[in-house]
């Protein structure tokens, strides 16, 4: 920002000089043009800085993951891009009512003075002076009436907003009560037997499950990267107990991917808590973007011999996705195909929908059957668009926790739904 200011000042002085020299060359447009260009360049520099910062952060995380995973490595210098406003600020209350009313009434609309009559009466064609004046007065009156009408509309709008605020308050409380009630019914228990008994009554369960988890700020309960990982490990344990073989975990910024070692350790600990230390199920963590698969725990000097022998029979496959697997992957695929076409290595006729489908399956994975979102309002946040074709979406209104209630209710909803393609 400093550079822009300096630049502006320079230009102004230059302009001032030129003004003093010759009055005729008063041109404002080139100044603004230059200014705009400068702003753009500044923005670009800023973006570059941002991406560098993020890369550095990722490098730090990765290096920390490979050398020695310490909790101190998780202290974040800056929040991720997609930091959501915490639910505390969004909780509706009566206190912001006056603010809403003021805000709606004081906000100006663009076309408040433009009356309808102006188009229908063109009084310039009229020659008679008196009639012209009367018509002018008529138009003025109409304009005033229109302004009054606008004010009335604004008042009604403010009234509606207040009404909605009240309604929202009750809705929020009702929804959170409902969730609490449900959480009493589906008592969250750390035993896979109970989860299995919940699931066994369902007619079908999804083969592939996807879950979108949100990063919460560190001050909250279950916030920060550690909280995110613990939540994810909970989902892994639940889906393993329910008998789901493949699980997508999506977080927008790819925080789960940054420290896979820690994630694996947390998942292992959680599974040990659920299934007992004697028979911890085997799992694999796959990252499609970098094409890596990790089995079970990260190697330590003691268990190194076991890892080499470790059989690759696994009970659950956890696939980590982030923003880069969504639109970016499709764009990259398009780009690479376009370049191949340009070089003549790929015929344009060979590009079919099946080919794209096959490639995207290879790059990201199969289409999930059910997508759970653990947030208040469904926001796909750039989840791979090709893969949500017939996916059942599930979210609970005004829920902000990764809770077993949402999980089991999602499964129940999926069991009750029937897919009939095209019918």
């Amino acid at each position: 920002m400093n550079s822009t200011k300096e630049f502006k000042v320079d230009i102004k002085t230059e302009n001032g000089d030129s003004n003093s020299l010759s009055v005729s060359s008063r041109s404002n447009t080139p100044v603004s043009d230059l200014d705009d260009g400068n702003k753009e360049s500044v923005c670009e520099v800023k973006n570059l800085n941002d991406s560098n910062g993020f890369k550095n952060l990722a490098d730090e995380h990765l290096s920390a993951a490979f050398t020695s995973p310490r909790v101190t490595s998780l202290t974040r210098d800056r929040p991720p891009e997609n930091l959501r406003p915490d639910i505390g600020a969004a909780v509706p209350s009566f206190s912001n009512m006056s603010y809403i009313a003021k805000n709606t009434i004081s906000k100006k609309t663009k076309k408040s003075t433009n009356s309808i009559c102006e188009d229908s009466f063109d009084y310039e064609t009229d020659v008679d002076g008196t009639r012209k004046i009367s018509r002018y007065i008529f138009l003025e009156i109409h304009r005033i009436l229109r302004a009054i009408f606008d004010v009335i509309l604004k008042c009604i709008l403010a009234f509606f907003y207040c009404f909605f605020a009240i309604l929202r308050f009750f809705e929020y409380n009702y929804n959170s009560m409902k969730l609490k009630f449900y959480s009493l019914i589906y008592n969250p228990s750390n035993s896979p037997q109970l989860i299995r008994s919940d699931v066994s009554s369902l007619s079908k369960i999804p083969k592939i499950l996807a879950a979108i988890v949100d990063y919460k700020s560190e001050e909250e309960v279950g916030g920060g990267v550690l909280g995110l990982m613990e939540n994810s490990s909970d989902i892994v344990a639940w889906s393993l107990s329910a008998g789901i073989k493949h699980l997508y975990l999506y977080d927008h910024d790819g925080l789960l991917k940054n420290d896979v070692g820690l994630l694996r350790r947390i998942i292992y600990n959680n599974l040990r808590k659920y299934f007992g230390p004697a028979k911890v199920p085997k799992f694999a963590v796959r990252i499609p973007h970098t094409n890596q698969i990790f089995y079970n725990l990260p190697p330590t000097p003691i268990s190194l011999e076991y890892v080499e022998k470790a059989d690759k029979k696994i009970s659950i496959e956890v696939i980590l996705l982030s923003k880069v697997d969504g639109r970016e992957t499709i764009v990259d695929l398009t780009k690479s195909m376009a370049e191949l076409c340009k070089q003549g290595l790929l015929d344009e006729k060979d590009i079919t929908q099946d080919l794209v489908d096959k490639e995207l399956r290879k790059l990201v994975g199969e289409e999930p059957d059910l997508l759970l979102y653990f947030g208040p309002n469904l926001d796909l946040q750039g989840f791979p668009p090709w893969h949500i074709r017939l996916t059942e979406l599930f979210w609970e209104h005004d829920n902000n926790d990764v809770s077993y209630t949402v999980f089991i209710r999602g499964l129940k909803e999926y069991a009750g739904s029937k897919v009939n393609v095209g019918k």
């Binding site: 709606t104 609309t109 663009k110 509309l153 709008l157 907003y161 639109r327 489908d357």
Partner: protein, 318 residues
Amino acid sequence: MKNSVEEMSRASSPSPLTSNKHNNKIGDRRSLEEEYSNCSFLVSRFIIFPLKYMFTEIIKSSGRQPKHVSFIMDGNRRFAKNKKMKIEKSHDMGFLTMCKILNLLYDCDVKTVTVFAFSIENFSRSEKEVLDLMRLAKKRLLQLVTNTDMCSKFGVKVKVVGDISLLDEDLKEMCYFLESETQGNDKCLLNVCFPYTGRWELFNSMKLAITDFKNGEINDITSDTISEYIYNHGKRAEGSIDWAKKGPLDLLVRTSGVKRLSDYQLWQVSSDCSIDYDESKGYQNTIKFEILKLLWPELTIFRIIWMLLNFCFEQSKK
């Protein structure tokens, strides 16, 4: 198989455009309204009209109305089953609902409306069913063709989005007629998704981007490029209007309570916050999902008004 379908459908109605000239009752919206409206003239004239006018003015004055609304019109056949009426009749009523809602939305200054009329997957049904569906589709398109008065009133440009090559000659002709009739309008846009799937749309724009890249018309492919191709129906922005900038998807409405996208607008829905940053609004554009438990013909304009007001309210908090 396809040939026989074409022949039979041709035999049923000689040519859609000629039958249009003979003032066929099928397509006339007013006659439909008379047939299906259950409230009297006085009520509609002195209660519903002023109320509707007031609400549209209120929504307009808020300045937060959605720019792009999109509908999945689900539940026509279930409605017919529940009410024990003919499927064709329920489709007529569904069409009438659509007309009313479109009128309301364009009154409220919504720039783009997209409706999902027909999926490519529907072709996988039995031959007889496909034939019935094509006849129905023909009727519906005819209704749209005859009701172009709405388009001229609001300046709506109609665009048929989808794989038109799957249709027979008559339907193709009708699609072209509809598009050419409204080509000059540029205030609003109506996308009719007719043999459409989201994957097809995405694939199509990918392929067009590849062709343009090969011919050297574009130097780089970014996600904005693909968005541009999708929102402008497989072409780059033509002339002065870039529909991608005029309105990325804001509000998606699905009736009949199913929480699924059913291969509809996949690319638009999974918008990444950083890409769809809307400068005119000054915040990140997120899509609101409205899943209604109603069936499509049961949907009334007051439900839509309620939804729009709620949308405005939620936007105003940001």
